[in-house]
Symmetry: C2
């Protein structure tokens, strides 16, 4: 059904939208989930590429894989195989060029919501 | 099933989350839709409260009503009856207190995405 799929394993590539094809609604949808927000927040805190196993999450590995796929397809992260591991990194430069200030505003809102609520 | 519902028509109230109960994932979900982004962008451009009929949308009135309900339940807008009309206004102060810079970053990303893409 998918020609080449079986031969693509050694250098198997993952689909990523080009920068010009990244859309705001899809990015917001990808980030509109507590688990995905926690993944993006962790990726934003490091220069390293991280595998699923680096995250302590209250979900199964397959659910983690799903969340990373949603983030990749929306253009929020890049995923690449390194040996047997699939590593994840934020597409910070692409997001900042397209939507200046958006990622930082969301990360700030995610990491420091309690303070604002106390002043409510 | 809902006591009081039939008698609530004259001063019928609409449920809104308190500021302290507004959550980032719900706000991002509410904004992760092209139609809702256009509604919020229009509301942000005016100090007036606007009814559904003020918006020229490629959707039916009931769909417009649905989108406004999603925005209200997420805490993005306030809705109030004025006579027979239901008027909508952004909860800008609440959103800014909870998520500084978020709304402006999203509105900027929504209204000026082409420029960034040309530089891609």
């Amino acid at each position: 059904m998918t020609p080449g799929a079986s031969t693509a394993l050694p250098g198997r590539a993952l689909d990523h939208p080009d920068r010009a094809d990244i859309r705001l609604p899809q990015v917001l949808h990808a980030l509109a989930d507590p688990v995905r927000l926690s993944l993006v927040s962790a990726l934003a805190a490091t220069a390293a590429e991280l595998p699923c196993s680096a995250f302590e999450l209250p979900v199964t590995k397959s659910t983690c894989t799903h969340h990373f796929r949603v983030l990749r397809e929306a253009g929020v992260i890049r995923q690449a195989y390194r040996g047997t591991a699939k590593l994840n990194a934020l597409r910070r430069a692409d997001l900042e060029a397209l939507f200046p200030g958006l990622l930082d505003a969301i990360l700030t809102a995610y990491t420091a919501p309690a303070q604002a609520r106390r002043g409510a």
